[in-house]
């Protein structure tokens, strides 16, 4: 997938001008958020559940090497094959190689962010393999040739009218606007692909080390079909998705659907272990599990950034993020968007290519309030800003000028007399620039700010008013009105 994170500002501006997109974003923000809030409010003790989620992820990530080895062992015992991939390229090559040696011609895919991360579709297609996204949202954006704009709802940026037009144009069907009708069209098209596919590819919501089982949650049944129908099944997962036990899985099952869609349980919860065993009726003949690192062990190595790996990919931080709700997922320029995208992206791709993203947040904290595993996203955003700006090992490429300005400002702030003098100078200067309390011209960074807002004029500062005020307060006239 092409990395376009450096275009964030430009694409955000484009998104703000796109009225249709603004309407679509408004709708999803409210709908997902309300559903999530209601689902958690119905729980007796939602906080404890989130604490449990946090604790199990903390433990799993702390024991990651052991859990991964246990998982590998159990998957092998169940008859599966385990592959380790350090990079996206290695993961792509592994899947392409399986497809090539097994003579695969058609692949059906379940919705998966990690296969977007490794650009799997393009690699398979380059080998002449037909690849079909079978999740309705993914199917829509595949037809449109777009990347997903939301972790859970990849096509949430589109209205049903836009989808109707897309189907009519790409599938040659008469224009149908009822969602039921659109779903029927996709279902008919995909049913034929399921029946002909040689290989299914999925991601994983979690993998249970003690049993070697994979969890997949969905509402359409397409993932279950992708898992059970083709003769070969490949599951690609980030190594951080492993959890220790089935008891932990129960916590994930309680948290994830509630956070993602506000459901108590997804319509389909598939938990499978290995390929079809002798005597079983369905399931693939072969099961391959690809464990992807792609920068995750580097995150693991930094205790401050480690909680980035707790993410369950529920998307709830996107739904409440006031920035995401204005600019949508595509502005972020890669696979993951919203607060978690702004944190993960510069850790998974070369940092300088995503240097703007951690700064594209007001640090309002709405994300941390809903995160099912209590990731402190504002803190991670701050840590990423620091790493990008200051850490020589991080090659952030943050422009020098604002950095120097911030440091010079900081230097002045440790020298009170210089600070007062500089402020006085600025005030004298500002007098020449204001007329009846309004600015005629504002210096550059504030100028952009002031394009849409009135900027207050500088006043005789409090520090110069204090002496008189102190006398007044000590003189016992403290309680008089200010006027």
């Amino acid at each position: 997938m092409r990395i376009r994170c450096l275009e964030f500002s430009e694409r955000a501006k484009g998104a703000l001008r796109d009225e249709m997109l603004q309407q679509n974003l408004q709708r999803i923000g409210v709908r997902f958020k309300t559903a999530r809030d209601l689902a958690f409010a119905a729980l007796e003790d939602p906080e404890s559940l989130r604490e449990m989620g946090r604790a199990l992820k903390e433990k799993a990530i702390a024991n990651l090497p052991l859990l991964l080895e246990t998982l590998e062992m159990r998957v092998k015992e169940a008859g599966g094959v385990v592959h380790w991939a350090c990079t996206s390229k290695e993961a792509r090559n592994i899947v392409c190689e399986i497809a090539r040696t097994k003579g695969v011609r058609t692949v059906v895919k379940g919705k998966s962010m990690v296969t977007e991360e490794i650009s799997l579709n393009e690699a398979l297609q380059a080998q002449g393999i037909e690849v079909w996204e079978t999740d309705l949202g993914e199917f829509i954006i595949q037809l449109a040739g777009e990347p997903p704009s939301h972790i859970i709802g990849p096509a949430v940026h589109k209205s049903k009218e836009q989808i109707a037009d897309l189907f009519a144009q790409k599938l040659g069907v008469p224009k149908a606007e009822a969602p039921e009708e659109l779903t029927r069209i996709a279902r008919e098209k995909l049913r034929e692909k399921f029946l002909n596919a040689d290989m299914g590819v999925t991601g994983a919501n979690a993998a249970v080390a003690e049993t070697g089982s994979i969890l997949l949650l969905e509402n359409e049944g397409n993932i279950r079909m992708s898992v059970t129908m083709p003769r070969i099944l490949v599951t690609v997962m980030g190594i951080e998705k492993v959890i220790a036990t089935l008891d932990d899985l129960a916590v994930i099952l309680a948290l994830l659907p509630r956070s993602a869609t506000g459901q108590k349980l997804s319509a389909y919860s598939t938990i499978f272990t290995g390929p079809r065993a002798p005597g079983e009726l369905d399931g693939p003949e072969e099961f391959h599990l690809v464990l992807l690192d792609n920068g995750r062990t580097r995150i693991l190595a930094d205790p401050d950034r480690r909680q980035s790996l707790f993410c369950l990919r529920c998307g709830s931080c996107l739904n409440v993020c006031p920035v995401y709700r204005k600019v949508g997922g595509h502005a972020y320029g890669w696979v993951y968007s919203g607060p978690i995208g702004a944190v993960l992206t510069p850790q998974l791709i070369p940092p300088r290519l995503a240097r703007e993203l951690p700064f594209a947040s007001t640090l309002c904290g709405a994300c941390a309030e809903v995160c099912p595993v209590k990731i402190d996203l504002p803190k991670l955003l701050l840590i990423m800003r620091q790493r990008l700006s200051e850490d020589p090992n991080f090659d952030g490429g943050v422009p020098l000028l604002p950095r120097l300005a911030s440091r010079a400002h900081g230097w002045i702030l440790t020298r009170p007399r210089l600070y007062r003098l500089a402020a006085r100078g600025a005030r004298l200067w500002s007098k020449a620039l204001t007329e009846e309390g309004r600015w005629k011209w504002l210096p550059p960074p504030v100028g952009r700010w002031g394009k849409m807002r009135d900027v207050p004029a500088m006043q005789v500062p409090f520090s110069e008013r204090w002496k008189k005020l102190k006398k007044e307060l000590l003189g016992g006239v403290a309680n008089e009105p200010t006027g």
């Binding site: 955000a12 703000l16 006031p322 920035v323 204005k326 600019v327 703007e356 700064f359 594209a360 947040s361 007001t362 640090l363 309002c364 904290g365 709405a366 309030e369 701050l382 990423m384 800003r385 620091q386 790493r387 990008l388 700006s389 200051e390 943050v398 950095r403 440091r407 400002h409 900081g410 230097w411 002045i412 702030l413 440790t414 009170p416 600070y419 402020a423 005030r427 952009r448 700010w449 849409m452 807002r453 009135d454 207050p456 004029a457 500088m458 006043q459 005789v460 500062p461 409090f462 520090s463 008013r465 204090w466 005020l469 102190k470 307060l473 403290a478 309680n479 008089e480 009105p481 200010t482």
Partner: protein, 241 residues
């Protein structure tokens, strides 16, 4: 109680009347006040733009200026959150400095929480006949968990009718350096906030965070709205109208 008054830079330079009101409110509540003249700023801008080395220098200066007081009070949630949440983090690798940062963090308060939680004062004898809406700044309400206190103080203001806005918990789009770096996104956010505020029909917009007020107030003024943005300290010194 010997209280050190911390006047954040935006108040100092642009809204000194908020500082004056804060001092009057605290004096009325019985505090013995002082304003240490060497104070500058909390270093939040440096911290939030990732320049932690600079932020540490500013924080050291701040700690030196304020650590002798029994309590430090500021009319701003974000500056207090900086001192309370992030100073101890900044010095976590140096036990001695961390200790100083922690002890200052524990006695640094946002104005409304100091009045209600620490002093137990709710009624300051203010009178103002107005229909007002209170804006929950993210730094006040989320970072510091202060939602009740300002509302309790406002409920004691004679004549003041407090109304709530739709989606009050959503950020106004300021975010410090964010609004300078991404002015268009920030504008879209403040526009939405402004529409919710105007829909209440309130005449007065109150907040405990000066930067939100500057953002929302500046936008509303540009749009020609007549609603008056005021800091809660300014409300608490009103004596009738």
């Amino acid at each position: 109680m010997k209280v050190g008054l911390f006047i954040p830079c935006i108040v100092e330079q642009f809204h000194p009347q908020v500082g004056e009101a804060t001092a009057r409110v605290l004096a009325k509540a019985g505090c013995s006040l002082d304003y240490p003249p060497d104070q500058t700023c909390c270093g939040q801008l440096q911290y939030k733009t990732g320049n932690w080395k600079s932020a540490r220098d500013v924080a050291r200066h701040f700690i030196k200026v304020f650590e002798e007081f029994e309590a430090v009070v500021a009319p701003s949630g974000s500056c207090v959150a900086m001192v309370r949440k992030y100073y101890p983090e900044l010095f976590r690798d140096d036990p001695r400095e961390r200790q100083r940062a922690q002890s200052l963090a524990q006695k640094t308060f946002e104005l409304t929480e100091f009045l209600v939680r620490v002093l137990g004062v709710e009624d300051l004898g203010a009178r103002w006949r107005t229909k007002a809406v209170y804006h929950d700044s993210c730094q006040v309400s989320r970072a510091l968990g202060i939602k009740e206190e300002p509302r309790r103080l406002l409920s004691k203001v004679e004549g003041l009718e407090l109304v709530e806005m739709e989606q009050g918990e959503v950020c106004c789009g300021f975010g410090g350096s964010f609004s300078l770096q991404f002015p268009e996104i920030s504008e879209a956010m403040v526009a939405e906030k402004a529409s919710h505020i105007l829909a209440t029909g309130a005449e007065t917009l109150i907040s405990a965070e000066i930067s939100c007020l500057m953002n929302i107030g500046g936008y509303l003024k540009r749009k020609g709205a007549s609603i008056v943005p005021v800091h809660i300290a300014e409300v608490l010194v009103q004596r009738g109208k």
